[in-house]
């Protein structure tokens, strides 16, 4: 009897929760402006945007320069129609889906936020974007490269595409094609092995390279992977060496990339292999290794030269300002993309914002339409044009040859091939 009583209590409880859950509806803000509503910035208040990057953990080297790039761009841009722009406290995407979602929840909860610059990692964007999109906001990423977030470049929507998503970083497919074209056509190599490290980014890029290389007529002899934390690379290199490829493409991170470069020497079948890495290894602690000499690296074209953003700043100005403010060089390559993304967002806000009765109104749908129209806007990374799925980047891939581990700066400028379809 005692038991059955308890059971009924449990059931009653469940029903109560069910009803309560059902009663909860959505509570979207209602403004009369566009279909998605508008943000009203009252006199004396600031226009709210947010920065959502991987600012802690082992990917902080990527997220922190992005975050700072955004801060500097906001400073350079100045006021919009007499209103200040406020980035608020930087949010952390933790380079993961769950982290991205939690942070996006914080952003979406604040109805004053107009747009977001972020995320650093594609996995975080996958989970964050539905919330951002649902809240009527826009998000421009400086360093997401997964094709799934935008499109396959053939006009087919990616599986994770959400309206309101844009990015100034290149699409992995571009980089894959760029690296493959260089290897196959310029270097004349016909067999290649590919190693990734189980990171969504390196896996995606490795796959893009393999597909492009085979499409060009080359053969991918081995497509394999290591784990983060591995140190002994002999087994994986032996596996690769069994097929004696001419090229070994490993777009992975430190320290695993370093172990591969160091251990490749004694492995049978790889005596004459050409090594090629990607932007993830364009770091000082990898390029300082003597074994990294003679390697090619693919990555976004960092030769910004005299490119100027609409704020009038060039890469040189930016780096000077960065160094003055933070006392160091950026630790990863996407700061310029973050700067351009921020300027793109602020310009679009500037264009659609309407002053009325002392307040500033920013229509959310109009902002998206404005970003969709972006074409040929100058930025530090080059000319920016958004396609229908939010790829706005300059899409220029450069291949550099690393000749001297004692002079990394020279290597970074030693562009041997440029891919810009």
């Amino acid at each position: 009897m005692y038991k059955s009583k308890k059971w009924s209590r449990g059931i009653a409880l469940g029903v109560a929760f069910g009803l309560a859950a059902a009663a909860c509806g959505s509570d979207a803000p209602e403004f009369e402006a566009g279909a998605l509503g508008a943000v009203e910035v009252k006199e004396g208040e600031s226009i709210q945007i947010r920065s959502l990057e991987a600012i802690s953990g082992d990917v902080a080297f990527l997220g922190i320069p992005n975050d700072r790039g955004t801060a500097l761009a906001v400073e350079d841009y100045g006021q919009i129609k007499g209103f200040d722009v406020d980035v608020g406290t930087s949010l952390d995407d933790l380079c993961s889906a769950d982290g991205g979602q939690a942070a996006a929840q914080t952003i979406a909860a604040d109805e004053d936020v107009v747009g977001v610059i972020g995320t650093s990692c594609s996995g975080a964007a996958t989970a964050a974007m539905p919330l951002i999109s649902n809240a009527g906001m826009v998000m421009i990423s400086p360093s997401n490269t997964s094709p799934a977030l935008t499109s396959d470049l053939e006009g087919n929507k990616g599986s994770d595409y959400n309206v309101g998503y844009y990015r100034t970083a290149h699409n992995d497919l571009f980089q894959g094609r760029g690296a493959a074209t260089f290897a196959f056509e310029e270097l004349g190599l016909t067999t290649a092995a590919v190693i990734h490290d189980g990171d969504p980014y390196t896996n995606g890029l490795a796959q893009a390279f393999a597909d492009a290389f085979e499409a060009l007529g080359g053969t991918v002899t081995t497509f394999t992977a290591v784990n983060k934390g591995d140190t002994d690379m002999t087994p994986v290199l032996t596996e690769v060496g069994a097929e004696s490829p001419e090229l070994l493409f490993f777009p992975i991170f430190m320290p695993e990339g370093g172990f591969i470069a160091q251990q490749v020497a004694g492995v049978p079948g790889l005596e004459n292999v050409q090594l090629m890495g990607a932007d993830a290894l364009l770091t000082d602690n990898f390029m300082e290794l003597p074994e990294s000499e003679g390697m090619y690296f693919s990555g976004p074209d960092l030769q910004y030269g005299s490119n100027k953003s609409t704020t009038g700043k060039s890469a040189e100005d930016f780096l000077a300002a960065y160094n003055a403010k933070y006392g160091e060089e950026p630790s990863a390559a996407f700061w310029a993309h973050a700067y351009d993304a921020t300027v793109l967002l602020l310009t679009a806000i500037d264009n659609v914002a309407v002053e009325s009765g002392g307040s500033l109104f920013i229509d959310r749908q109009a902002l998206r339409d404005e970003l969709n129209k972006v074409s040929g806007v100058p930025g530090i990374t080059g000319s920016l044009s958004c396609d229908e799925f939010g790829d706005c980047g300059a899409q220029k891939i450069a291949l550099i040859l690393h000749e001297n581990s004692g002079d990394i700066a020279a290597s970074k400028e030693n562009v041997v091939y440029s891919y810009a379809p």
Binding site: G57, D58, A60, F61, G198, F223, T224, A225, V226, N227, G229, D230, T231, D232, T234, P235, V236, T238, E239, G241, A242, M254, P255, G258, F259, Q262, A265, G266, V267, P268, G269, N285, E288, L289, P290
Partner: protein, 365 residues
Amino acid sequence: MTATQRKPQKVWKTNNWVDLFLTAIRIGAMAFIGVGLLAFVLEQAGGEGLTGGAIRGLFVTGISQGAMYGLIALGYSMVYGVLGFINFAHGEVFMAGAMSGWITSTILFENGMWEGEAKFVLALLIVLVIAVIVSTLATILIERVAYRPLRESPRLIPLITSIGVSFFMQNAVLGLFGPASKTLPAPPPWMSAEYTFLRIEGTKILVLVIAAVSMAGLWVFVERTKTGKAMRAVAEDKEIAALMGIDVNRTIVTTFAVGGAMAGVAGVLWGLLFRGVSALTGFLPGIKAFTAAVIGGVGNLGGSMAGGLLLGLVESVAPLVILKPLGIPAVSQLKDAVAFAVLVLILLFKPTGLFGERLAAEDRA
């Protein structure tokens, strides 16, 4: 109180299905390995597989990695033998040695001590001595702060504590020295040349020699010195050892210290071999080393070393020899999975490890 009286007797009757299930797993695993090996042999016979050079390379790298597992495993094994718990933080003690190796070798390199044969050997000795000191101090500190107050607690308590210590140390080093992986200076060119008829790289020979010397030193210490005798006595039975006039506390500290010293040596060898260390260096090797200790038989020093060599070898060879012939792609990704699978299999077939445990009476459950 004796273990034999407590042995369950009716398990076989009541848990028939469990035993059936375990037998099925045993047979399945053997079949899997057998088929994989067969496929490998067929592939080799067909002339498609690995070349002799490749196989030799896998063995050499496996054994040198295994030697380090073995050195770390000694620490686990000795502590388990004496106190009966897994000192999870032992991997972090190894990491501390490796980090100190990074700092001292970089300083010595910058001062030109990393060239020439005599200078290099001297520099290496300095690096080794400092790493041994750092690791030993670290392990003594851990024992004093975290384990000694828990000497008489239920056995899961110190185990959980050691997990906490491990996390704390890992993240403390991460915070102190930053997350980037540190690169050690490359050894002089004559070290990377290949020697002997097996064409083994100089660094790997060095690693094997130092590991062998340390192991021999430890053996002499445990078997031939008075302190070593005390350690064995305490491992056998703490109370009786105390009655015989042995200072149990001091002996336990010595056990930790000796294990720490071995981990310090392993840390330096790790740095020499892979030239990359970071705060996370200790974690996986630590777990693998414990695996090695269990495979060889906990408390059994020779067994631990052999277990380490075996694990290193299996990890290096098995993915390519068993998994790849079965058509599994990207087998190197599964290296760690293979190592843990080996642990499970060994415990399924021989619950006390390959060479048998040597534990205190109270721990032989």
